[in-house]
Structure formats: structure tokens, C-alpha cells
């Protein structure tokens, strides 16, 4: 009988601990334990002030340019809310394209320029033939035009 009580107590203690674990894990999601930071996070000061870190986002359309020395490239990384200027010397991965995902690793200099040591491409989870992609893009464009037109009416 006594043994049974003890076992019950142990089970309760175990469940309590599991609840604590659950609470802690949900709490940590709101914090910033991540592989990379978005420009917004950098702006808000959540990213490291010193040392290396990674930023991630989309390469802004039309922002990619090669510097006169022919070695460095510059481009802007955006998360649609904020953007950051990145400079990099080296070979870009194949999937690196304007409008696509990117993760750059390096550090922020005093001018707010992000000097990258490494640039990685991050793609999304969509797989489809180019024609389908084109059609989808067209449809999307039409839709936004549509909605903006509606907005104009209002």
C-alpha cells in the first residue's frame, strides 16, 4: 500500500516535470535560437553586435551589382519589411538569384554594411516545371493587379 502511494507520487512528479519542459520549450520558441537572423531582427538589435552571424531573407530584385574591382559583389537582403546591404567576395551558389532566398554569414561593419564570408542559397519547398512556375507567377501578378484595381475603386 505504501509502495503504491510512493509510486503515485513519483508519477505526479514526473508529469509535473514534463509540464515544465513543455512550458520552457514554448518559451524558447519566442526567443531567437536560430540558424540565421532576418534584417528586421538585426534592426531591432536582436542579432549579435559583434562577431560573426548569419542573416537570411530574399535577394531584393534589381539590387545585385558587381563592384568595379570585378571580385566583389553587392546585393540587398530583404524580409519585405527591412533590407540590408551585403558585400561578398567569392563564388555565388547556383541557386543565388534575385528574388530568391539567401543566407549570408559574416559580420556587420561600422557603416552598417554586412561583410559576408560565405553566401548560401536557401530555396523554398516548391518543386514544379518552369512553365507551371511562369503560369503561377502570371496568375499571381494578375491577382495582385486585380486586388489593387479593386482597392483603387474604393
Amino acid at each position: 500500500m505504501k509502495a503504491r502511494h510512493k509510486r503515485l507520487g513519483l508519477i505526479v512528479a514526473g508529469l509535473l516535470l514534463l509540464v515544465i519542459a513543455a512550458v520552457l520549450i514554448t518559451k524558447s520558441f519566442r526567443s531567437n535560437l536560430v540558424f540565421f537572423f532576418t534584417p528586421t531582427q538585426v534592426e531591432k538589435g536582436e542579432a549579435p553586435k559583434s562577431g560573426n552571424f548569419r542573416i537570411g531573407g530574399l535577394v531584393e530584385n534589381g539590387s545585385l551589382k558587381r563592384l568595379p574591382d570585378g571580385l566583389h559583389v553587392q546585393f540587398k537582403v530583404t524580409d519585405t519589411a527591412k533590407t540590408m546591404l551585403v558585400e561578398y567576395k567569392g563564388i555565388l551558389p547556383d541557386l543565388f538569384k534575385e528574388g530568391k532566398g539567401v543566407v549570408a554569414e559574416g559580420k556587420l561593419n561600422t557603416n552598417g554594411l554586412f561583410e559576408a564570408d560565405q553566401v548560401l542559397a536557401k530555396h523554398d519547398e516548391n518543386y514544379m516545371p518552369p512553365e507551371a512556375a511562369a503560369a503561377l507567377a502570371a496568375a499571381k501578378a494578375a491577382k495582385t493587379k486585380d486586388s489593387s484595381a479593386k482597392e483603387g475603386v474604393k
Binding site: I20, L24, S50
Partner: protein, 228 residues
């Protein structure tokens, strides 16, 4: 029966005995200290002298060393009790095996993990760490080493009575140690690059809470299997 001891005092005796045995052979407690200190000092020796490199290496090197020194003392956790038959006697005690195991784990922590919490910041000074980093190092080690003892106990119990245990334990336990290392060293790295370490710390807490539940269960099961 008037002569019966309370659960609490039985458990206390188990804890106290382990600590007494360890203190009797003073070298044991010292040993983890010294291993940590010596091993951590090896890294600067092996690398070309560059103070910046050194301080950048520090969180990972210190945490990995702490992890290895906790791990090294694991094979001792149950094996000597097994060899002289006292483990059998403990399994036949009138307390649930899970609690007995928990006491063994606590004793291991007090003797091997806890000292590191105090020594690590001193060694960290050698590596040029700032006071904020040192503080985080101590906090993360406090939570982390307990988790290491808990998880390690499963490995120690599983390899009981198997020869050449040291290396086998390492293989079993190191993969399970990775989250502790990532979050623990992550917390220190976070402050050193000027970020908030709370995320890493609360994940460390999650791992600790889960280990507190599952490790004693797993170890108790493993010990029963080993003694069969």
C-alpha cells in the same frame, strides 16, 4: 516496527555513502578538477599563439572539455558497486529503484559536475572571457552538468559489466549529449556576440526537465537488465 528509517533518510544514506567513499580516496574528486584544468590547457598548447583565436575557441573548448570530463567519470558510476556486490544490495533495498538510481546520479553530479561550475570560470579567465561570458558559462554548466550526469547514467548502466567500458560509454552517451552542448555553449556564444542567451538557457532547461523524468527510468531498467 519502531526501528524503521524514513524514505528520506534511506535516500540520504545512499547519497552520503557515495560522497564518503569518494572523499576517502581524495584523489577522485580532485581528479575531475585536474582533468578539466589540464585538458583545457592543452588546447592553447596545440594551437599557434593567437589570442583572438583563443577567445573565439573558448566556449566550445571549455564546454567540450567539461563534457568529456563528466563523461570520463561515468564508467565509475556503477561499476565499482557492481564489482563488489553492493549494487545488488541496493537493488534489493526497500526503496523504488528509480529513487535509488536518482541518488546515485546526484552523487555523481555533486562529485564531478558541480566542481566544474566553480572551476570553469577560473579557467575561462585564462581564455580572456568577459565577466558576462564567465557568468553564463557558470550558469549553463550548472544546469548542463546535471543533465550530463542524468543522461550519462543511462550509458553507464547499459555498459555495466562490459569490459573496455570507457570508450563504449562515450559512443552511447556523446550523441545524447549533443543538445546539451549545443544549447550550453550556445548560451555562452550568444553573450559573447552580444545576444540574449535566454532562448538557449530555456532549451537547456527543457532538456534538463526531460532528462530528470526519463533518465532514472532508463537507468533503472538498464541496471535490472545488467544484473539479471
Amino acid at each position: 516496527m519502531p526501528k524503521e528509517l524514513s524514505t528520506f533518510s534511506v535516500l540520504y544514506r545512499i547519497l552520503a555513502r557515495d560522497i564518503k567513499v569518494a572523499l576517502r580516496r581524495q584523489s577522485d574528486v580532485m581528479a575531475v578538477f585536474f582533468f578539466f584544468i589540464i585538458a583545457a590547457s592543452l588546447f592553447p598548447l596545440g594551437s599557434s599563439a593567437d589570442p583572438k583565436l583563443l577567445s573565439a575557441m573558448a566556449p566550445s573548448v571549455l564546454w567540450v572539455t567539461a563534457l568529456l570530463s563528466c563523461m570520463l567519470s561515468l564508467s565509475r558510476m556503477y561499476s565499482s558497486d557492481h564489482a563488489d556486490g553492493t549494487l545488488e544490495q541496493m537493488m534489493l533495498s526497500n526503496q523504488p529503484t528509480v529513487l535509488v538510481v536518482l541518488m546515485k546520479i546526484l552523487a555523481h553530479w555533486v562529485l564531478s559536475g558541480l566542481p566544474l561550475v566553480f572551476v570553469a570560470p577560473l579557467i575561462g579567465l585564462q581564455f580572456n572571457l568577459s565577466s558576462a561570458e564567465l557568468q553564463l558559462l557558470a550558469i549553463s554548466l550548472l544546469m548542463g552538468t546535471l543533465t550530463l550526469s542524468l543522461i550519462g547514467s543511462i550509458g553507464a548502466a547499459l555498459t555495466l559489466g562490459v569490459h573496455g567500458t570507457g570508450v563504449l560509454i562515450a559512443i552511447l552517451v556523446l550523441p545524447l549529449y549533443i543538445p546539451v552542448l549545443v544549447f550550453g555553449a550556445g548560451a555562452v556564444n550568444a553573450v559573447s556576440i552580444g545576444m540574449n542567451p535566454n532562448g538557449a538557457l530555456s532549451l537547456l532547461g527543457t532538456v534538463l526537465a526531460m532528462a530528470l523524468v526519463f533518465a532514472p527510468l532508463g537507468s533503472a531498467a538498464a541496471l535490472k537488465i545488467a544484473l539479471e
